[in-house]
């Protein structure tokens, strides 16, 4: 039903014209679910924007054709496109709350679409809108009709966006990274919902994602894009067990899954030996009955409810949970950016929870506990070069000056694989992976014993993630540091950590050695998390 031939899209930028899509071909049959997988810069989203003809002002379709039901979408008039959009082809986007008009009731927004495509009149629009909301399994649809987007959760907003897209019964739905920013259980719920609706209505779908595992679970066929070109296409299982193109192989390897070691994330032939890291007998960090309660508008909010766990010397502990479970609060307290309400945090026998967060910057123990942040861009001062960012703790905490600083900075850069000649660049001149390395180098500058990593690879492409995770594995062997690895991605935790803690609603619901918990989860929530993680088809070769 959709046939793309030689599609090329270019953008006018400050530095001239950039080709985002350089000539791709693919076809989509009726009722088929297609996945377009690629990392950032691959042109996957641009392709769908071009199809719908909603490219930004600077973008044009330079070549090729996109034939849908006999019409070339490239040459159709804007008027015809407006009829096609929403009624024949629909699209859902990432960041659902931002995708809805913030000052208009949700129900009214659906009505607008219905009436635009003459699927409802003024009189029955409300009823049909409520029906559309019910179709996406929103409870209490009549009440939700009157809500504004800011009153709904992220998952609910995404359901509304889906309802909007499906309101006029289109034949094709394009989903552009619809799970970004959602919790893993919500992700599963949303993807299952879309899948059910697509199948029930006999629709075709195109899923655009960077997650090969997700695509393989929900698509009949996958197309892999890199740098504006399609490098491989095929059946998901085929792609996973027998990838032909080098890039596909790289992606397949880098997708975290159940089997394998941390090294198996890297492409074949680029896997040096990894010595096992040593876990000491003595506990490094002992958390006992740690709790944090906030005063909320409607009563106290128990962000963390008396949790206890231990991290031994050299051990890597994974902390897993969804948003609101208290893992960020816990890590903030551990790294002493936040004061606890009660409980103790023993660092080598000394209770650091008694030391107020406000003055901890000056405490001698500051250098021993450090953190790597989730968003590398946000965690680097835009006015500091990479060198200045890494050197800051050397100046402040180690009292180093002059040449000593330069030497140590370059040593750290080398240790984290950051090219020395980029040290004098500003963050906006660095790539995501490079920024992540700067963040790690900075955290290691003061030779800490304990490093808290707050979803350090969440914002990275999967192939870069593979590199960074391996870097972390190498560093812990070399430096003997302990990690607290906070993540929502269970597969990554499985590969990197020795021990795992699962949190829900401020409490630890399960904890234990990583193999035990992953193979044999006891708590229902752990089981739910495990089953919600996208399953890649198992490969024979690790």
């Amino acid at each position: 039903m959709l046939s793309i031939k030689g599609l090329g899209v270019a953008f006018r930028t400050r530095n001239g014209e950039v080709n985002a899509v350089k000539g791709i071909d693919f076809e989509l049959a009726k009722g088929e679910r297609l996945g377009i997988v690629g990392e950032s810069g691959s042109g996957k989203s641009v392709t769908s924007y071009a199809l719908m003809r909603i490219l930004d002002a600077g973008g044009t379709i330079k070549s090729g054709e996109a034939v849908y039901g006999g019409i070339d979408l490239r040459r159709a008039s804007e008027r015809d496109m407006r009829d096609i959009r929403g009624r024949e082809i629909s699209m859902i986007f990432q960041n659902p709350r931002a995708a809805l008009n913030p000052i208009r009731k949700v129900g009214h927004q659906i009505e607008d679409v219905l009436r635009r495509h003459s699927r409802a009149t003024r009189h029955n629009a409300k009823i049909k809108a409520i029906e559309a909301l019910e179709a996406v399994k929103i409870r209490d649809a009549a009440a939700r009709y009157e809500s504004y987007p800011f009153e709904l959760s992220g998952g609910m907003c995404q359901r509304v966006v889906i309802a909007l897209a499906l309101a006029c019964d289109p034949k094709l739905i394009i989903a552009d990274e619809p799970t970004t920013g959602l919790d893993i259980t919500t992700q599963k719920a949303v993807m299952d919902l879309v899948d059910d609706l697509v199948r029930a209505r006999g629709m075709s779908s195109i899923l655009i994602t960077h997650d090969l595992g997700l695509a393989s679970q929900y698509c009949d066929r996958i197309v892999v894009m890199k740098d504006g070109l399609i490098v491989e296409a095929g059946d998901p299982v085929e792609l996973f067990t027998n990838p032909q193109h080098a890039y596909t192989r790289k992606l397949v390897h880098a997708t975290p899954r159940r089997r394998g070691t941390i090294r198996s994330l890297l492409p074949e032939g680029e896997r040096p030996d990894l010595e096992p890291h040593v876990i000491g007998e003595k506990p490094l960090i002992d958390v006992i009955n740690l709790a944090k309660t906030y005063q909320g508008k409607s009563g106290p909010v128990h962000a963390v409810r008396k949790i206890s766990f231990t991290v031994h010397e050299g051990e890597s502990v994974g902390l897993v949970g969804e948003s609101g479970c208290g893992k960020s609060t816990t890590s903030s307290m551990l790294v002493r950016l936040l004061d606890s309400t009660s409980g103790s945090i023993f660092y080598r026998g000394e209770d650091i929870a008694t030391l107020p967060a406000a003055g901890f910057a000056k405490h001698p123990l500051r250098s021993k506990i450090q953190m790597v942040f989730q968003d590398a861009t946000d965690s680097l001062n835009p006015r500091f070069t990479a060198r200045q960012a890494i050197a800051d703790p050397l100046h402040r905490l180690m009292g180093m000056r002059g040449d000593a600083v330069t030497t140590r900075t370059e040593e750290l850069a080398e240790m984290t694989g950051f090219p020395a000649h980029l040290l004098d660049r500003f963050p906006h001149q660095l790539s995501g992976g490079q920024k992540a390395r700067v963040g790690i180098a900075r955290a290691l500058a003061t030779e800490p014993d304990f490093l808290i990593l707050d979803e350090p690879t969440a914002a990275l492409d999967v192939s870069i993630q593979a590199l960074v995770l391996n870097l972390l594995a190498d560093l812990r062997v070399r430096l003997g540091i302990s990690y607290l690895f906070v993540s929502h991605d269970l597969n990554v935790v499985r590969l990197l950590c020795d021990h795992v803690i699962v949190m829900q609603n401020g409490s630890i619901v399960e904890s234990g050695p990583v193999a035990t918990v992953m193979e044999n989860p006891q708590h229902p929530y752990t089981r739910e998390l495990l089953s919600a993680a996208p399953q890649a088809p198992e490969r024979e070769i690790a």
Binding site: M52, I54, A57, R82, D83, I84, R85, G86, R87, S90, M91, F93, N95, A98, A99, L100, N101, P102, I103, R104, D112, V113, R116, H117, Y148, F150, E151, V161, L164, A165
Partner: protein, 341 residues
């Protein structure tokens, strides 16, 4: 909706300490005015004894905090003191002259909104076109022009050179009689009795000062409208609307514009502040008998009660206007008062 209601009340309650602060500041300011009001009130033939008597009568011999309390009491009774220059109560002077200022200010604002808002919207929807260039030029020029200068130049061009405008001597040429007082707005009052000659006379006098003031407020409103529209048009929810096939009319009017209105309404508050100040200048240039020119005259003769009354009145007016703006904002934005922003 309940949230919005209580937020509105909170906003009103928040205005009260501000009003109090305003009263304190204006009291302090005008007590510091040079010139001894006792001397002025006592008159030319006063002896030192009568001056002292006058001083006691005016309560100026008491300590400042006590004077302030007395002052507060007078305020609550609506007594703003006597105007030295005219001999009438300040409150009467202000209320009789307020309509003139309001008519000028409001017509200027209306005029500039009628031009600036569509201009800003058009400039945002057609970036790079000649409309956009004109808008940007107007904005840059507009914020650079001194109001009093534009007024003077407009008089030169339209009165002296072209002879179209009447002589800039106030609201109504002496050949006309003031229309019967209903609102104090000549245009409305004349229309109410159907006196179209007077209406036209008042209109001719109003045009030039209103345009001068309008030119001043045009720039910030146009700039903000354009910026807000651009921002709204490039947002995610517009992309969703386009992807759902909503036509450009619906998208523009319904979605983008209403969202763009929010920062524009907020800007209006700032614009009001400027316009009430610029009012003073325009009234001086065109000899418009409003409270602005009254204040200027009062300053020159150190009529402190009048100046104090003027500053207070303006501040109160401004606080009231800001409240109205906040109320308007709360009507447009359902997130008002929540942390949903």
């Amino acid at each position: 909706m309940a949230v919005r209601g209580t937020s509105v009340l909170t906003r009103i309650a928040q205005a009260i300490p501000v009003l109090f602060g305003v009263i304190v500041i204006s009291f302090v300011l005008t007590r510091a005015l040079p010139g001894d009001p006792a001397v002025q009130f006592a008159g030319i033939m006063a002896t030192p004894e009568t001056i002292e008597e006058t001083r006691a009568k005016l309560g100026l011999d008491k300590p400042l905090p006590e004077q302030f309390v007395v002052y507060l009491g007078q305020l609550f009774q609506g007594d703003l003191g006597q105007s030295v220059s005219t001999g009438r109560p300040v409150l009467t002077e202000l209320t009789s002259r307020l309509p003139a200022s309001l008519e000028l200010t409001l017509s200027a604002l209306l005029l500039s909104c009628l031009v600036a808002v569509p201009l800003g919207v058009l400039a945002a929807t057609r970036p790079g076109s000649w409309v956009d260039q004109i808008c940007r030029l107007l904005v840059t020029m507009g914020v650079s022009l001194p109001t009093f200068f534009t007024g003077v130049m407009l008089i030169y061009i339209f009165y002296y050179l072209l002879g179209i405008s009447p002589s800039p001597l106030g609201r109504l040429d002496f050949i006309y009689l003031d229309p019967p007082h209903v609102t104090g707005f000549f245009l409305i009052d004349a229309a109410l009795v159907g006196d179209w000659e007077t209406w036209f006379g008042a209109f001719k006098q109003l045009i030039l000062p209103a345009v001068t003031l309008a030119l001043f407020t045009l720039a910030p409103i146009a700039r903000m409208t354009r910026a807000a529209m651009l921002s709204a048009l490039s947002s995610d929810y517009i992309r969703t609307a386009r992807a759902a096939g909503l036509g450009s009319g619906r998208i523009l009017c319904g979605y983008a514009f209403r969202n763009a209105l929010l920062p524009v309404v907020t800007t209006l508050g700032m614009v009001f502040s400027f316009v009430l100040g610029a009012n003073v200048l325009v009234e001086k240039v065109f000899a418009w008998p409003g409270i602005g020119s009254y204040a200027v005259e009062a300053l020159i003769v150190s009529d402190y009660a009048a100046v104090q009354g003027f500053v207070l009145a303006m501040a109160f007016l401004f606080v009231f206007l800001n409240l109205v703006i906040d109320l308007a904002y709360s009507l447009i934005d359902p997130r008002f008062g929540t942390s949903g922003k």
